[in-house]
Symmetry: C2
Subunit: 460 residues, 2 copies
């Protein structure tokens, strides 16, 4: 039996999960596994970077689930600081460059996994490359930011963007003693929520001493004589002094290689795959993680949702399939949770604008409740907004903002969405109740009750 | 239009929810509502009593969701300290006794709701009626226990029973500075869990300084010369000194009236209803709360599951139906959560013995994980056990024991059970992930992955 070669491009969550799972299923005599990774690290939690910056996580190594040595010990030929610069699909080979020596060589494959991840959006603005301007996408980024934190004397930070990374970095910088200003383009922070729910985040952030500036389009970063950022300028002409600037504007799929090779990309630029995570139209090429689009089961279309948890699942599915097993990734419902200091933020399914874009007619209901029985000590409030389809009452989405216990409650809605439940069915769900954990009607059920009423009131 | 009269027997969660919901739908000209309640209180959280005893909840009134005055102000004719002593179904009337004066009278009804609740099991043992022996079922019970706490000098408490009430009362008494011994009949505390999971509770309780005694059958409570409990004796001959004894042995449906009237009862003695919560075979009699059996959707049979959350839902459904609306209670999956000090305990669906009793063949898997990313500060462990049907892989049950975030994770399984998902489907669920809230693979998903493997290994 000839040994097959699996080549994996990208050694973080999706790539290394795929390699590891393939290795579990097939030994080195059956399958040679080569992984090319351009950075210095593998299998790390990029989502943990804000907590490392904030100081809750002591060291970089804590974010590394498995070291290169551990992967190599399991029979994976891992080549760090080696960047794949060309895919030759017809020839079944990839061209890789050693980033230290600059030398290049071709490596043939029988099966190929593209796990090239995403790259932070960096608008081409004057000063964007200045010292003191940081992305937080990779562990290398995080290390640079940590190093800079040690050196920086000033205590004014500007965070550009108020999505997950933006608000998490705002918290991290507050913990580091910075005065933090968050500039964001929309009406409210957290544009992954509807604006009425984003407004709650806005109020809470201001209450924490985090300044937020809405409708702020950054046009330039001013630098001092040493080339270090000193202020962020917006289209409105405002100048926000900054001893440190953090970019949390979002990411886009890193698919230049795939595009050059003619592989199918969606509207976000993410690779399109089938349910087994095989690139559409390809026999031997798989892809997963932040470089692909995933099927949104509620909207009925593919979207780019870069999240570590999906990347890990993709890797597991790809590894099973290239290792001779069988697994699929059926899609997502758009669940995401985050927090900024004590405020928990969660969403799943469709926002109002998503529902409209999907061609759905819907009703909404919003309720206030508490995470525990209201008489239980430390009970904190939460707001739950629910969307349901008109006429059918099918659950379409849930957003939650509030104190302890708010965020993970969204999981109930995520499962109900996956199952295609109506809000009537949600009202009857048998959720855990005891005073330290929930009011007698769980907040999600209270929201469902009110949504049921809204569905009926809306009629046909 | 003639005014109809709704008579409700029992003024706690189910009864008052039914009355309130009926009143929302129908005004006083259409519907007269009379509620008979034998106790001093209405609409209180019996589940909150342990936290009132423990001191986390300052006063009794905090446990009362709505006072008699509030109910009366909404047009509900509430008669406290009035016990219904006979149902005349053929005559459409109930006989009630004023517990203060002893006088009795008949009241006619057009529609009748039986919400008589449950009563604590009190084995007929010598000394069971002694001073210092307490149940914690009603607010009156709780008041007596609180009063006794003030008087009692000794600091040794014996709790009989290690179910939800038993472990919650153990925590409450520890908080009150008692040395607590819990006597329980089974091999492990929390017999609502499988013994392997109960063993984790046992170990944790011992670690908290709570003594537990397994296989302990109480035979007698010894009293002192003043008639106060001084020790609890077990069948093994052990004598456990006690300055206070709390009975948490469980409850049984309070259905003597219903039985006398010939209404249909299940094997637990609970009333049997249809899906609209109408008593089976009756046109105008509804019942809900702790006095009914509910349909267990996983086991495919009715069971007695006294829980405030179900009682509130039953009341809502009954009130909608007697008020001219339409609602149903489709059943439960057996979800319950609790805690003893910092240990969270949760279950849903079937235990091994339940699955066997239901005629199901199954596999199990147990995993260890953490409530947050393992590198996040304060990460605490949890153990998740999962049961799935052989061959089909259908999820049958989940049990979780662990630190912060353990208990409410069971809700994910509760929804998946309701939807009839397989463990393969559970693996693919899109649950909220961020380091402060979950590892990249949520513990429930990790358990599902291992269970998938177990299902495949078990073959057909």
């Amino acid at each position: 039996m000839a040994t097959e070669r699996l080549v994996v491009v990208g050694g973080d969550a999706a790539g290394m999960s795929a390699a590891s799972q393939a290795r579990r299923l097939k030994g080195a005599r059956e399958l040679e596994i080569v992984v090319f990774e351009r950075g210095h690290f593998t299998s790390y939690s990029a989502c943990g970077i804000p907590y490392w910056i904030g100081g809750q996580v002591a060291g970089r190594d804590e974010l590394i689930a498995r070291t290169p040595q551990e992967h190599r010990a399991r029979g994976i030929d891992l080549r760090l600081r080696t960047e794949v610069v060309e895919l030759d699909l017809a020839g079944g080979r990839v061209r890789a460059r050693d980033l230290e020596s600059g030398s290049e060589s071709w490596t043939g494959y029988d099966k190929l996994v593209l796990a090239t991840g995403a790259r932070p959006v960096r608008p081409r603005l004057p000063g964007i490359g200045a010292h003191g301007v940081h992305g937080v996408q990779s562990l290398d980024d995080g290390q640079r930011l940590r190093d800079d934190l040690e050196r920086t004397r000033g205590r004014r930070a500007v965070v550009v963007g108020a999505g997950y990374i933006g608000v998490e970095m705002a918290e991290a910088l507050v913990r580091r003693g910075f005065e933090v200003t968050v500039l964001h383009r929309g009406e409210q922070p957290m544009s992954t929520l509807d604006p009425d729910m984003g407004a709650l985040v806005h109020t809470a952030m201001n209450g924490m001493g985090i300044r937020t500036v809405a409708r702020a389009e950054v046009t330039e970063i001013l630098t001092d004589t040493e080339g270090r950022a000193r202020a962020v300028v917006t289209a409105a002409g405002a100048e926000h002094p900054a001893d440190m600037v953090v970019l949390g504007i979002g990411v886009e799929p890193r698919t230049a290689l795939a595009r050059a090779a003619g592989l199918p990309l969606g509207s976000s630029g993410g690779l399109l795959t089938d349910l087994s995570m095989r690139v559409r139209g390809q026999e031997d090429v798989w892809s997963g993680g932040d470089c692909v689009e995933v099927l949104d089961l509620v909207a009925g279309r593919t979207r780019h949702i870069p999240l570590g948890t999906h990347a890990n699942k993709h890797g597991q599915v790809i590894g099973s399939n290239v290792g001779g097993g069988y697994a699929t990734f059926p899609g997502v419902v758009g669940t995401a949770v985050s927090k900024v200091c004590d405020l928990e933020i969660a969403r799943t399914g469709l926002r109002e604008r998503d529902a409209r874009a999907a061609g759905l007619r819907f009703v909404t209901a919003t309720i206030e409740s508490t995470g525990t029985a209201d008489y239980y000590p430390g009970a904190t409030g939460m707001t739950v907004k629910m969307l349901a389809e008109r006429r059918t009452g099918r659950l379409l989405g849930v957003q939650i903002v509030g104190g302890a216990g708010a965020a993970k409650r969204v999981d109930v809605a995520a499962v109900a969405l996956t199952a295609g439940m109506t809000v009537d069915q949600v009202v009857s769900l048998d959720l855990g109740y005891a005073p330290p954990f929930s009011p007698v009607w769980d907040p999600v059920l209270v929201a469902a009750r009110k949504t049921v009423t809204a569905v009926r009131a809306a009629g046909m």
